[in-house]
């Protein structure tokens, strides 16, 4: 019991890193997701396949493999180490964000893609009839519909990303899971640490869940 109280401040401190990693990855991931989702709606076969295979690879392999390739694998590549890109790949923090972004980008692109596909033809025909140009249609009509449609699934993805950041601990970053593991391995009291760290994660999950619910309510035009 006293361990739970003792470890709480350290765990809370580490949570800051977890939140940073989650928010940054989700933020960049949205753009990546929209980009690849749009690629899938194009008629161009090459663009279509690029997007398809990107999604297939990043959803079909474990996040752990992805982060290891980007951090340890690329760290091995000589010409990368000598280029200016090394400034980015040198740091585990940026490597983690790149890996997480690419990963969530793939799942997000699937969510948006299926949302794009469910836009009723009638809406697009109406926009056409009104003489709206392509940009206008995309940003003012398609995107809002897609966003509203995707909310439930995207909320799920946000939680998955939050859990995914725990893998940052495998590349030296001291996030909530990393610190939790350190405490467990030095005190041999896994249950207490699990309860505290787990509760912090559950609290964040709860916040995300309710945030999405509120957004859904706000965007519900029919009410």
């Amino acid at each position: 019991m006293d361990l739970m109280i003792e470890s709480f401040p350290r765990l809370l401190n580490a949570t800051i890193l977890t939140i940073e990693l989650t928010l940054l990855s989700l933020f960049f991931g949205i753009f990546v997701g929209i980009f690849f989702a749009v690629l899938r709606t194009r008629k161009n076969k090459i663009l279509n396949s690029i997007s398809y295979y990107y999604s297939y690879i990043f959803r079909g392999t474990p996040l752990l493999v992805q982060i290891f390739i980007i951090y340890f694998g690329l760290g091995q590549v000589e010409w990368l180490r000598e280029s200016f890109l090394w400034l980015i790949f040198k740091e585990p923090y940026s490597c983690a964000i790149i890996a997480f972004t690419l990963n969530t980008g793939a799942y997000t692109s699937e969510i948006f893609r299926s949302a794009f596909e469910t836009i009723r033809k009638g809406v697009l025909e109406a926009a056409d009839a009104l003489g709206l140009n392509k940009m206008h249609v995309f940003f003012k009509i398609k995107l809002p519909i897609v966003i509203k449609q995707s909310l439930p699934a995207y909320g799920n993805e946000m939680i998955l990303m939050l859990k995914g950041t725990s893998l940052a601990s495998t590349v030296t970053l001291l996030d909530l899971t990393g610190v939790a593991k350190h405490i467990i391995s030095t005190t041999f009291r896994p249950v207490e640490v699990f309860v505290v760290a787990g509760s912090i994660y559950l609290l964040m999950t709860f916040i995300i869940h309710n945030f999405i619910k509120i957004l859904e309510k706000k965007l519900d035009y029919s009410k």
Partner: protein
């Protein structure tokens, strides 16, 4: 390419067995998950409030807490827990819980949380009429659940079970912590020994993609089979 040779000079054989191990752990885990899901789904569907709470607690915790944390809990706590239980039964010696079981159980518990939601959703989406008709026909609850409801539930759940399988399969990569030699751990060992992480982790990715590909094919066939007549 010589790195992948079979036999003593290359890592081909180690990686092959590691792949088999990955499949073995994933299958054991998903079945443990199904057993748990059967229990907890019925809890969530029952009329007894306490059981509902138990069920929700299970699915919330094990879908909300990172897998690594669950694995650490079991890895660092398993022998202690098993021995604690054994002591209650009077056995005071040492019991070793294998790395395989520790890994399979941790992933199994997580997989079960997802499966619980799948089972629950599937049962809830079965037409009420099925239940009513069964009652009208005078069939006992146990019998009609087994012969009428569950077969339909399995068909409805199949696509989502495919997802749960994908998740379970990829989660096995995290059990490398426990020392079990599956794909991720073997790649880790090979990468360290040859100082060629790029090659081995990329190859690991290819192995996982291959397993994903096979799994998708398998589930597609299963779905086709069970949708006959629909």
């Amino acid at each position: 390419m010589g790195l992948l040779a079979y036999g003593d000079t290359g890592w081909g054989d180690e990686l092959f067995f590691a792949t088999l191990m990955t499949i073995a752990v994933a299958m054991t885990a998903i079945f443990i998950g199904f057993l748990l899901a059967g229990i907890f789904a019925s809890f969530k569907l029952s009329n007894i409030r306490i059981l509902n709470l138990f069920g929700s607690f299970y699915t919330t915790v094990f879908r909300g807490v990172p897998e690594l944390l669950v694995i650490y809990l079991f890895f660092f706590g398993s022998s202690g827990a098993v021995m604690y239980v054994a002591k209650i039964f009077g056995y005071d010696g040492y019991i070793e819980v294998s790395a395989f079981l520790t890994g399979a159980i941790s992933i199994g518990i997580i997989s079960g949380a997802y499966s619980t939601e799948v089972f629950r959703g599937a049962i809830q989406s079965i037409n009420r009429g099925q239940f009513e008709a069964s009652e009208v026909l005078g069939l006992k609850k146990k019998i009609y659940y087994y012969k009428v409801i569950i077969p339909q539930m399995l068909r409805l759940a199949l696509p989502n079970i495919s997802n749960v399988w994908q998740i379970t399969l990829k989660d096995t990569s995290l059990i490398s912590v426990t020392g079990l030699v599956e794909i991720m751990r073997q790649s880790y060992i090979a990468a360290g020994s040859t100082r060629d992480p790029l090659f081995f982790y990329s190859f690991a990715a290819i192995l996982y993609l291959f397993l994903t590909f096979l799994s998708l094919k398998l589930f597609n066939n299963l779905e086709k089979h069970y949708s006959k007549g629909y």
